[in-house]
């Protein structure tokens, strides 16, 4: 619940501020659906899959984790490779989107 309110608040800020750095849930949804959902699912990973769930998690946590994978302070062959090509704004969009999803 807290997470949902948080991202709603974020959206509101975005609408007010209207600046180019604001997160886009739509872009986040598209990226997540195209790439991340392959392993993590949207709401939940597959019942049979070894991947951690992302849906409904704290966006700040997700952002930090993805950035750690990107700069390899957190090691995982596959996530290091995937996060390596993401920009800050893509990470923010994806984290906000996953944060807004009900698991």
């Amino acid at each position: 619940m807290k997470i949902a309110r948080y991202s709603a608040a974020m959206l509101a800020t975005m609408l007010v501020a209207g600046n180019a750095q604001a997160v886009s849930l739509y872009v986040g949804q598209y990226k997540a659906g195209m790439v991340c959902a392959q392993c993590h699912g949207i709401r939940m990973p597959s019942a049979d899959a070894p991947f951690p769930p992302l849906g409904g998690r704290d966006p700040e946590y997700l952002k930090t984790a993805i950035k750690q994978y990107r700069d390899k302070t957190r090691k995982s062959d596959i996530m290091n490779a995937i996060a390596g090509s993401l920009t800050d704004s893509e990470i923010a969009d994806i984290a906000a989107y996953y944060g807004s999803v009900k698991p």
Partner: protein, 526 residues
Amino acid sequence: MKKTTIRLRKNLLASSIIMLLSSGVALAKSDDMHQIYQDNCASCHGSDHGGYLAPALNAATLKGRSPTALRTIVMAGSFDTLMPPFYGKLSDDEIRGVIKHLQETPKQPNPAWTIDDMKKSLKVYVKDESTLPAKPTFQIDDKFENLIGVAARGKYGRGEGSKAIFINSATHQKVGEVATGTAAHIIDFNPANPRWAYVKTDTAEIFKVDLYSMKAVRSIKTGWNGPGMGVSRDGKYIMAGSFVPHNAVILDAETLEPLKTFELEGIDPDGKHVSSDSGMIIGTPYADIFAIALENAGQVWVVDYKKEGFPVTKIEKVGRHLHDAFLTHGGKKLMIASYDDSIVAAIDLEKRELIKQLPAGCVPHVGGGSAVVVDGRTLGFGTNFGDCDKTVVSVWDLDKMEVVKQVPVSGGTESPAAHANAPYVAVDIISKDRRARTVQLIDKKTLEVAKTLDVGGHAYFPEYSADGKFLYISAGYNGDEVVVYDSNSLQKVASIPMESPAGIFSRGRVKYMTRGLSPDEMEQHK
């Protein structure tokens, strides 16, 4: 579903993963690899390595391909397709080993699956059916019409995620689920007794399901793969057909015991004798017959299931590469799609002859087909998939058997949905980009696209609820939900989460025969 080979998209992300696949060798033995392939891959790629829902993987198709690039695909999956990631499920050595095995293994000869194999595969989960409840154990309308079944494939096409899920379309609540081991593919309802449904999986098992208790009571493996299945109008027989091997079988619908098998072969329209995949199989409400399409032989066989020995009448030269079909005229006529000559063939099941071949756009795939009555005319709708210059949905006047219009749509389409009480015919756009998220709605009266819905995932298999009030659509692949719209306002009203949903089958189908017709039409033709 389709069996065409799909071109692999270049993927930036996948190529960024390649770099991490450079070290280590150590390979496991080839027998183990054979087993890994059969256990994890064969349900999609074919146990004969010849392809099914996914491309053929063998020494010829993978010749000259970089093992590293192939390993990347197996590890990370292919984004926005059914190909799942095996990272964490198979070890790096196993992935390397299976790729090596695939690049060394030729396509296997069509493996046999005889009537004895079928008999041995019969499983009984509920011995005494009188112990089953006498009415549904969940809330649903008295006529038991609002039931919708969804083939939830599961991400890996097998395992815990693979089930048939049933929903009450009045409340959009899940009322039951039945685990199917491998991906559920087709769901058929018994027209004579509402409590039974039959679920066929990617690996050609058929489950007899008791809908009142939502339990599988029996199952039988009818082949290696192939979607064909039909139920007779009296609810006593099932006919099922396979791609591998090239045969079909009639089962007793009560016990699932196989009664007779049929070798599928014949002379194709070009005069060659060929062995053939089974295409669609359908039972018609008009007579005690099954119709089965022989894909490669281009023939439709009519089987009299009430006659001794199940005699067959063969209708030849129907088209090149037949696939799916729908019924019209109270079930007396069959409209069947033929991929390679871009036609839909109309067949008279009473006279057992070809009536006419109608233009149908390139690579026609009619899905379950649809027919609607508009201003006194009965119009049939046919979808097409494939990469074509012009992507259209064909509309035919089914009385005159002529083309009324080819409606331009935004991409290839796979399955049309219609209902007598709903204003639009829904078609799923399957072209491989953002369009795959969408479904387009064709206005029945103007025959033009009125609206595009952005459903998400790989949106496919639209289906109306039995009363026509709601439109159900699978947001498949990674969308992981079935989305429900109000049929008139087209507002989203519900979402039902499940893993990789595909085909949606309303129990309403048994009363209107072809989606879009009203039960009254059926009466008129009696």
